[in-house]
Structure formats: structure tokens, C-alpha cells
Symmetry: C2
Subunit: 279 residues, 2 copies
Amino acid sequence: MIELEQLQHLITFQECETLSKAAKQLHISQPVLTRSMQKLEEELEVSLFTRTKNKISFNETGLLAASLASRLLEDTKDMKKQLQDFERKLHTFAIGSCAPAPLLYMGQKVSQYYPQKALLTEIKDMSILMKGLKEKDYIIIIMPYNIEDYDIESIPFMEEQLFFSLPLSHRFANRKSISLKEMDGERMLLMSNIGFWHEMHQRTMPHTKFIIQNDRSIFYDLVELSSLPSFTSDYVMKTETMPQNRHIIPIEDKEAKATFYCWYLKENEIKLKSLLYHL
Amino acid sequence: MIELEQLQHLITFQECETLSKAAKQLHISQPVLTRSMQKLEEELEVSLFTRTKNKISFNETGLLAASLASRLLEDTKDMKKQLQDFERKLHTFAIGSCAPAPLLYMGQKVSQYYPQKALLTEIKDMSILMKGLKEKDYIIIIMPYNIEDYDIESIPFMEEQLFFSLPLSHRFANRKSISLKEMDGERMLLMSNIGFWHEMHQRTMPHTKFIIQNDRSIFYDLVELSSLPSFTSDYVMKTETMPQNRHIIPIEDKEAKATFYCWYLKENEIKLKSLLYHL
DNA sequence: ATGACTTACGTCTAACGTAACAATG
DNA sequence: CATTGTTACGTTAGACGTAAGTCAT
């Protein structure tokens, strides 16, 4: 049987044009290459080179062999990579989500019930999540609506309600509730990477200038120190310390309340049962 | 670098289900297989099996690896075959022809001017010849008509005239010439594998019952011993001894005369120049 | 005379098989 | 206890590099 190493020798020889240079590049002695090429010809049962006493060069068959060898070596590299990717996927619990809060919640549950697995969490657009679920890039995705599908199971597992977080001096600071429209037109602080909420804010508050901050601690500093309104939610308030200098006002619109559903392929139900049981 | 031998071990193990049986089938000792599989895992940097103290079986990654390995081994076999075919082609002078006479003539010339090459000669339908020329299965094809083409050169090199070969007692035995139509309706002797002539006979003499013989010596015996009419040609009469008990009568129709053209790809002109010069 | 490839030769690695071991059913 | 897979160990084949040989520029 031919060896992949011989094929590697062949294409290195082609690149270097002489056996001597190829030997240097391969960190082997030059006679090894002579023998390697001789053996390759024997095993393929074809002649690959034209030889004179001190010159060896590719013949037509040799050129074809080199191009085929190159493809074959690529394929083996692909094979290795494919196997490694496959194995990593086997040991990774990948969740995609449309929003941060349910992702944090779900991430906790997963690391609790599947502690041996690596955890991969991503916030992505919903179209990408759908695609990723079907192509098994994610074992679970978190979506803000239900689905009826032959392959996909969908179960609700948490709700999130948004609030306005207003400085005490704000003109609405003492209201019982506010609508999104009423607040539209000011400047507001906003975290980045908040998934589908971002699209919701832009749609329902088109005249608002959002000052987007991607560092969470700086965001909290700004909430504390500036007089800019911002958003918060019931989930955030349960898990983080509440700002002292703020009034928290419920948002009236239905868009400010989301129910999150955990979607997974039905074929994975068994794998997921210990998690699903505890949601 | 992984070795193809290891991949062969892998799929043999999969077929045999235990290392021991696989070792027998591979004619190696069983510890060799243990080590081979361990090394394969190391080199791929993935785990392929689940092991207990005296049991080893494929895990999911291993199953994927086996299927990929199988494809890869197929590819190497294909590579070897492809190279051998290519080399054979390089050393073969392949001619396809629509008729036997020009093929004999051309074959002689080729073995004269390219004695180092193997000679492959075939009589085939003209559509197959065209295809074979374009796909380089033939370096030359012999056709009964001319062509004007960007890629193909065509040069006339011989003519062949058919005659009726009649027993002395035949009613037309003393004619100066005969038409095909006049002879239509009798039984006639015919060689098989005569290329496009066969189609011509059937078209121009639809009522004739042809008794087809594929052994040339038996054909000549029958010509000598039977009273059945047959065909011959100027080329055949030049190269073979003429039958004594026959009258040779020219055929009037233009279909009974062919001019043969040698077609080849223009890109091969240089390779063929010594032959073409002597046609 | 320098650099190319092949062949010859002595060394030593690493792959092999046997044997011993451990576990299962 | 028969069978399976892994580990230990001694042997040897074969792959390596050095050196020598031959040819070309």
C-alpha cells in the first residue's frame, strides 16, 4: 500500500524542482527521497519520472500523479479536521438565543445538569437561530414565540417584562406606568448585544437616540451617574443589584413583555430530558 | 502523518467487529491492531472508541471516521488505476475506423513509424469514433468523408472500390458491371465487423439475405466452395490471393466507392508528423 | 569543481510477534 | 475457561544517514 508520506514527498519534490532542495525542506537526507520516489513508482506500478545519470524530472504521468496526490492529501487533512469538529460538537452544548436574559438562565441550567459538557452560548438573529437549529449547530435555541412543527418541539420556560429606569428628576419619574410612544424622542442608554429587543426598540421608538454601550460595568456606571433614561427588566432586577437613584416604571405596551420558548429537534428529546424536566 | 494502512485496519475492524478477528483477516498479530488503533487516535487527535477492559467498540466519531476512511481508501485505489490507465494511453497508438481496409493500411504505417508504441485498432460506429476522438480515446480515426472543423484536421489517404465476387455459373458472371439494385434479393456471403459497409449493404440491398461469417478463413473457404455471391474490393485483392473460381465484377453505384479520411485533433499534429508525412 | 542523483553500507529505531496479564460472561 | 483487549519484552526487518560513485555543467 502506498503511504501518504510518499505523496507528500512527491509534491514537495514538485515544488522544489530537485530532490536535494526537497530533502532540505523535508528535513531528511537526499537518498531517502530517491528511495521514496522509487518505491512510489513500484507501488503505483507506473513510471513517474525521466531520469538521466544526474537529473530526475517529472514525466506526464508524474505530473498527473502530483496533482492527484495533492488532492488526496487535502482530503486527509479535511478528514482530520472534520473528525475533530465532530468530536468537539459531541462534547459541546450549544445554545442560541434571541435575547440575553433567557440565555443566562438556560446557561445556568445546562451547566448544572450537563457539567461535563462545554457550553457555547450565542445571541443571534432569529433567522440564523432557525438555520442553526436545523443544521444542528445548536442543540437548543431560545425564541420569543411558539412554533408547531413536525421536527421541532417548543416549550415556554420564562417571561421577561421590560421597565423604564428613570432618574428621579425625570418628568415621568412618578408615573405608575408609561408607554413606549410617550418616551419616544429622548436620548436613552442601551446595552449592545441584546438580541431581538434591539429591533423592538428601534421599531417602537423611532425618534429616540440610543447611546449604545457594550461594556456592562460601564453601562451600570452610566446608569448611576448620568441622567439618561434606560431600560431594565424583572429578570435583570432579580439578578443584579438595583440602582438607588432610579425610579422603575412599568412599560404598558405588550411589546415590552416577552415569553421565551425553548426550541429543540424532537430527535434530541432523550438527550435533553434531564434538562427539560427541570425547566 | 496518518498512514493509509491504519485506515485499512480501521475499516477491517469495523467489518470484523472484534480486533482478534480483524487481525486474522489482515494476517497480523492482534497486539499490532491494538497499537495501530491507538496510534490512529493519537494522530487524528480524537477518540474513536469506547473501551472497557476486554471490549473495544466504535463511538460516534469512530463510525464517522470509518466512513471517511473508506472513501479515502477508494480514492487512493482510483488514483492508482487512473495513473495506470493514463500511462497505458501514453504508450498506445489508438486508431478507430469505420471500415477494415483503411484500418489495416493505417495500422501497418503506424507500426512502421511508431514501433515502440502499442497499437490499438477498433472498428466502431462513426458516432462513437467522433466521440472517441474528442475524448482522446483515439489519436486518429478513419472516416469515409471530409470535415471542416476548428479542432480537427482531416486528410484523405486512400480509396476503396467494392466489387461483386460471383461464381462462374452466376447469371451475371460475364457482365462488365452490375448495380447493387440488380443483385438485390439473392443470398450473399458477408464478413462481419466491416464497419459502415454493413449499413450500406442493408440500405442499398434491403431484400438480400446476408449470411454473416465472422471467421475470415472460414469466409474464404466458403467463397471457394460455395456458389454464393460475395463482395470484395480493390484493397482486398491487392493484399490477399484472389479466388480462382470467381468472376470479379465492378459495382456501378457511387456507394460502392469510398474515400477514407484520416481525422486527428490539430493539437496532435506535431506528434503525428512522421506518420502524416508518409501517408 | 560544484552540484546533481543513485548505490553501498553500517547503525539503530521502531514495528513485529510471543507471552504474560486482566477482565468478562 | 474460553475469549477479548492491553501491556511487556526480546528480536529483527527495514529505514535512516554517511559516504562513495558517476555524471553533467
